[in-house]
């Protein structure tokens, strides 16, 4: 989880990823951010993310992102 938060903060330093729960719903992450994030997640955690995984439920918060990473590992 710590590693994920580091990746997120590097992507968007001005966002409070620990508490934000509407990364997609509140349009904090756009499609370019998502693509960059996925590229880093794939490399770091050696997981395979498919287009079907790109849904708000998986990307709305650091917690849901981490749950997805754990599920795909």
């Amino acid at each position: 989880m710590e590693e994920l938060l580091k990746i997120l903060e590097e992507l968007k330093p001005d966002v409070d990823f620990k508490n934000e729960t509407g990364l997609i719903d509140n349009a904090i992450l756009d499609s370019f951010d998502i693509v960059q994030l996925i590229t880093t997640l794939k490399e770091t955690f050696e997981i395979d993310i498919t287009p079907a995984d790109i849904v708000p439920e998986n990307f709305n918060s650091a917690e849901s992102l981490w749950a997805m990473v754990e599920r795909l590992q």
Binding site: F32, V35, A52
Partner: protein, 518 residues
């Protein structure tokens, strides 16, 4: 049958009447019959194409689902992780083959019917040949329903949901009559529960809201769009003889025309669907309040944008090819490795958006113009941020936001010079005139003689009313609910004003919907 015709009003009212009279279990059948009747009444000859796309995508998706089921059965029989992964990969390949086949066939029907003449035209131009053009009938709504069936195939392949087992249920999704002509491009998992799992009872409030929305759509189309068309047609057609600022005014009127035409059509579509209790996805969210081109495309033709994002942008960026390109570029520069593939993906999306709009070069340039502006915005973002700090600009201030909105609006307007034109030559002529501030040949004599002053005042008046409604919506006000809470006389005065405005102010010539041609 135009959406803004008496015939269509009678058609959807009759459908609604039968829909609410028959028992719940037959309601969807009424909608299916109405959808096919609507299609046959409009374009009976091309029924074969929509039926072909429906059948192909239905059976291919069913096959993919059965392969997935078999895969899961085999995977659950073993606890060895490597073996489970191997089984998954093995079945994934088979599923991919079927999905590709279905998608290629559905797109091939669209491509042959819509783009063959474009290819022939270019071959003739390049090789100086004289190949005869084909006279295909473009099936009604083919660009919209093809995108719907492809989204269904993609979703079933990705395991988002299981394939539909009832061909008639699926046929309703593909042919749903309000959205067949000009969208919105719906997703199967959004419509399915509404068609088959929700009980629909007649509600006076729902009917009132639906009728208000339909009426508002009629007004936007018949009064604002069709009158603005008169201005646009004159200015675009004579731009070479007019001052540059009049050409720019023409582009500004085209913004009003296109937005009123397309969003007015959407109001009718969404209203008619709402009348039967089926909620369609909104296609617009006050697009001219956007602060960037990227934001504009998240607010304008939303369902096309999300389709492109889900089925082109993400799959392209997650593909092995893009992954390898990113890794290669990362060795040279880490930021480039992440940004360049995404930027190329964005250009690909806007190239397709251009092609989707029509088989003409100016549409492709229109798409790429938007794509390039978005890419430039991303690449220069660090520089812009430095400049904002350097000049002590408060990025959260209203003035800065207003500046960004106006800048985006101007860029969008310039882009229209590649959209509503006959060819690229006309586009470049208009752009050249705008950027060199050139006045046309007949500067001394120009005058608007093909439309009356009433047209300008009418478009102006109703656009201001529309702007006020848009501001309220932007602030989160539900305008229809607010009106329904007003005192009865006031409420009915508004309804009557709306009803009477249509015949009183509507343009003399009714023009077909722009997006119904796609």
């Amino acid at each position: 049958m135009s959406f803004v015709s008496t015939g269509f009003v009678l058609f959807f009212l009759l459908t609604a009447l039968i829909y609410y009279v028959v028992p719940q279990k037959f309601k969807w059948l009424v909608l299916l019959c109405a959808s096919y009747a609507f299609y046959a009444l409009n374009n009976a000859k091309s029924l074969v194409f929509i039926i072909a796309s429906t059948l192909i995508s239905f059976f291919v998706a069913k096959k993919i689902s059965s392969i997935s089921e078999e895969c899961e059965q085999r995977r659950s029989a073993t606890s060895d992780k490597t073996e489970r992964k191997e089984i998954r990969n093995q079945y994934k390949k088979i599923k991919k083959r079927y999905a590709s086949l279905g998608i290629i066939i559905c797109f091939a029907i669209l491509a042959v019917l819509k783009y063959t003449n474009f290819v022939v035209f270019n071959i003739n131009a390049i090789f100086k040949t004289d190949i005869r053009m084909f006279s295909f009938i473009l099936p009604l709504g083919i660009s919209f329903y093809t995108f719907q069936v492809v989204s269904y195939l993609f979703d079933v392949y990705n395991g988002k949901y299981e394939a539909e087992q009832n061909i008639f249920h699926y046929a309703l999704y593909v042919s749903w009559f309000p959205s067949i002509l000009q969208g919105p491009i719906s997703r199967y998992n959004e419509l399915r529960p509404q068609f088959f799992e929700t009980e629909h009872h007649f509600s006076l409030e729902n009917t009132q809201f639906a009728m208000q929305r339909i009426l508002w759509g009629f007004l936007k189309k018949l009064v604002i769009a069709d009158r603005a068309t008169e201005v646009v047609t004159y200015i675009f057609g004579n731009h070479a003889d007019l001052p540059w600022y009049i050409t720019f005014t023409g582009l500004f009127f085209y913004s009003i025309e296109l937005y009123a035409d397309f969003s007015g059509g959407m109001d009718v579509v969404i209203g008619v669907s709402e009348l039967m209790g089926i909620k369609l996805t909104e296609n617009f969210r006050q697009p001219f309040f956007s602060q960037s081109i990227a934001e504009f495309w998240r607010r304008w033709h939303i369902t096309l944008g999300t389709w492109m994002k889900d089925y082109v942008f993400y799959p392209y960026n997650l593909s092995d090819f893009t992954g390898k390109m990113g890794k290669f570029l990362s060795k040279i520069n880490k930021t480039a490795g992440k940004l360049i593939p995404a930027c190329l993906g964005n250009l690909l999306v806007f190239f397709i958006v251009g092609v989707w709009h029509g088989a003409e070069w100016h549409f492709i340039v229109y798409g790429l113009y938007n794509g390039i502006l978005i890419v430039l915005g991303i690449l220069f973002k660090p520089l812009f941020e430095k400049l904002i700090t350097l000049f002590h600009i408060n990025a959260q201030s209203t003035y800065w936001k207003a500046f960004r909105i106006i800048r985006t609006f101007l860029l969008i307007n310039i882009g229209w010079a590649f959209d509503d034109v006959t060819d690229l030559h006309m586009s470049t002529s208009m752009i050249k005139q705008l950027f060199t501030f050139t006045n046309g040949n007949l500067i001394q004599n120009w005058k608007f003689d093909t439309f009356s002053e009433l047209t300008i005042y009418t478009v102006g008046l109703f656009s201001v009313i529309w702007l006020i409604i848009s501001i309220l919506k932007e602030k989160g006000v539900d305008v229809r609910k607010s009106i329904s809470k007003l005192a009865l006389p006031v409420r009915w005065a508004i309804y009557l004003a709306l009803i009477l405005s249509v015949p009183f102010f509507q343009a003399a010539n009714m023009v077909g919907f722009i997006y119904a041609q796609f």
